[in-house]
Symmetry: C2
Subunit: 344 residues, 2 copies
């Protein structure tokens, strides 16, 4: 094997990560690893870039749901890969697996409980990126948190921020399928058009042109019942003001707060008391056991019948991964961000 | 009947209410009401002053869980009263009832579903104020929200703000009885002494002398699992930083935010996502059906066996009610604030 290009984690960023300073691609020549018992060597095909990864770029001392990235090592991500060498009988050469791989072309993978074979991968009518997107972690995130925390009822109104993103676009379509009125916010007119014309949201607005407060006042005159929170800050503040009694906030992420030393101060949490709101954070692993089977059946069927759309933003080649990641944190991605490393 | 002194609601306050400007006592001479069918005339004995009432001092247009007070009318409160005239066979003359009465000496009471007779009142070994305190709304608030939202487990740690108040002092003793480590904050050394020496908290601190952040760092080195929220602002921010994964916040009240035009901005809600926290608001009526019977049995027994203490701050006479209310909003009360209007 001639070489392996990896994206290495260099230093903890305090604001937006900078390519070359906090992460950078590095090529190892003459990459000829010797596998230990239980390990496989993967040729990585596609991997997922997700906002939660910004939370792993931190001092290892700070508590969070996922382990911090280690300085000097490749970053890692959920990906789809082909096994090209194997010392593990569970994953023979030629298997297509879903696993935590490095941001790199080839990974030596230990025997992890998160690895599984995708039996249908070579004949799949769905692109391989589906397995790290709409049928992967972001998909289950949307499905399970909407059911478990959102407790949606037909006739209710849901507001979704970052609505054209990995989680938001599916959450909106599921809510719509379950009889809710769906309002979304996104950061460009193009994304708003996509939400209205292709995804089927009832209402959508560009938060860079119009405050969430003004938009919700007009678009949700009877208030909202569920807020699917992906961004935090002013949008959360507006949602708190517009939620109805017994409203639920699905605290999936707060991307506006990830890359700043000056977090936004939320001044109206008193709404939680006066309107009996529930705000709940989660990680997708909390829901895996209870929801995975239903999610897989429901969403796969909707996809195959083309009853849902799911836009993916593909960065081409491993060298494009660092800029794609920083771009996603800036909202430059349009749809679920992945890195297409190689073809099957 | 010679006269009836009532406390009248005069105007909406934007910061702390001012006696004479927003509320004031007023005496009606020659008070001789003629009852309609279904009404009773009460001689009010004791009534409750609670922080939630500040939320009723608002424009009627703003949504909240309880109806706004009406300008020009007497304020109202949960109280214990004697029926002295009756046109309602459910409440004969001489009955001692628990009801929403005016802040006044005598009230003409319509037939409300919230009125009930206290059969044991005349022989009770407990003071009548118990029925609007430890055995009334504040007591049920502490008991039910701790169980339903707090989901306490023996061995966990709870932090309670406004811990010597109407709800806090009972919440702490229940948590202690259920096997938790209990930490409280209060606004004077005298209150802290009470919590440590009489109530049996494991730790307590004076938030005016020491930040909640510094205190929790020392007193809860392994973090807290439940935060019983009564005050909001900086204390909430500190609690968010010190909560453990899957921590729960019982959003009972945020008194620091009731009397200001400049609410505090909470900058670390990201903890909700990264530590999978739940924050939930409620009103006691949400819990009545499910918890009242258990609450009454458990807490009454603990009281009669003197296994719990419950400090009450009594303002004497109706004329003292306005200042007592404003004092309570300033934290001047020591224990559950009531107004003792008359003796039985």
């Amino acid at each position: 094997m001639p070489s392996n290009t990896s994206v290495i984690y260099l230093a903890h960023p305090h604001e937006f990560p900078v390519v070359g300073e906090h992460l950078a691609a590095k090529t190892t020549k003459d990459f000829n690893p010797v596998l230990k018992e239980g390990e496989v060597l993967t040729r990585n095909l596609v991997f997922s870039l997700d906002p939660y990864m910004r939370g792993k770029m931190r001092d290892t001392g700070k508590q969070s749901y996922s382990a911090a990235f280690e300085i000097g090592k490749p970053l890692d991500a959920r990906g789809v890969a082909e096994v090209i060498e194997s010392k593990n009988s569970k994953y023979p050469v030629g298997s297509i697996i879903h696993a935590f791989v490095g941001w790199e072309e080839y990974t030596v993978l230990p025997d992890l409980p998160t690895t599984r074979i995708i039996p249908e991968a070579r004949e799949s009518r769905l692109p391989l990126s589906s397995y790290v997107g709409v049928l992967g972690m972001p998909g289950l995130t949307a499905y399970a948190s909407l059911k478990d925390i959102g407790k949606p009822k037909a006739g209710e109104t849901i507001f979704i921020s970052a609505a054209s993103g990995a989680v938001g676009q599916l959450a909106g379509q599921l809510a719509k399928a379950w009889g809710l009125t769906v309002i979304g916010s996104a950061g460009s007119d193009e994304k708003v058009d996509y939400l209205l014309k292709e995804v089927g949201f009832d209402h959508a607005f560009n938060y860079k042109k119009r405050s969430a407060h003004a938009a919700l006042k007009e678009l949700a005159p009877k208030g909202i019942d569920i807020y699917f929170e992906n961004v935090g800050g002013e949008t959360l503040e507006a949602a708190l003001d517009h939620l109805n009694t017994h409203g639920r906030i699905i605290a999936c992420g707060m991307i506006s707060q990830y890359n700043t030393r000056q977090p936004y101060g939320i001044k109206n949490l008193m709404n939680v008391v006066s309107k009996r709101l529930t705000i709940r954070g989660f990680i997708v692993a909390d829901f895996h056991e209870q929801y995975f089977e239903d999610f897989w059946r429901d969403v796969r069927e909707l996809l195959l019948k083309k009853k849902i759309v799911y836009r993916v933003d593909e960065a081409k080649g491993i060298a494009a991964a660092p800029e794609a990641f920083v771009g996603m944190l800036n909202g430059k991605n349009f749809g679920k961000q992945v890195v297409q490393v190689a073809d099957l």
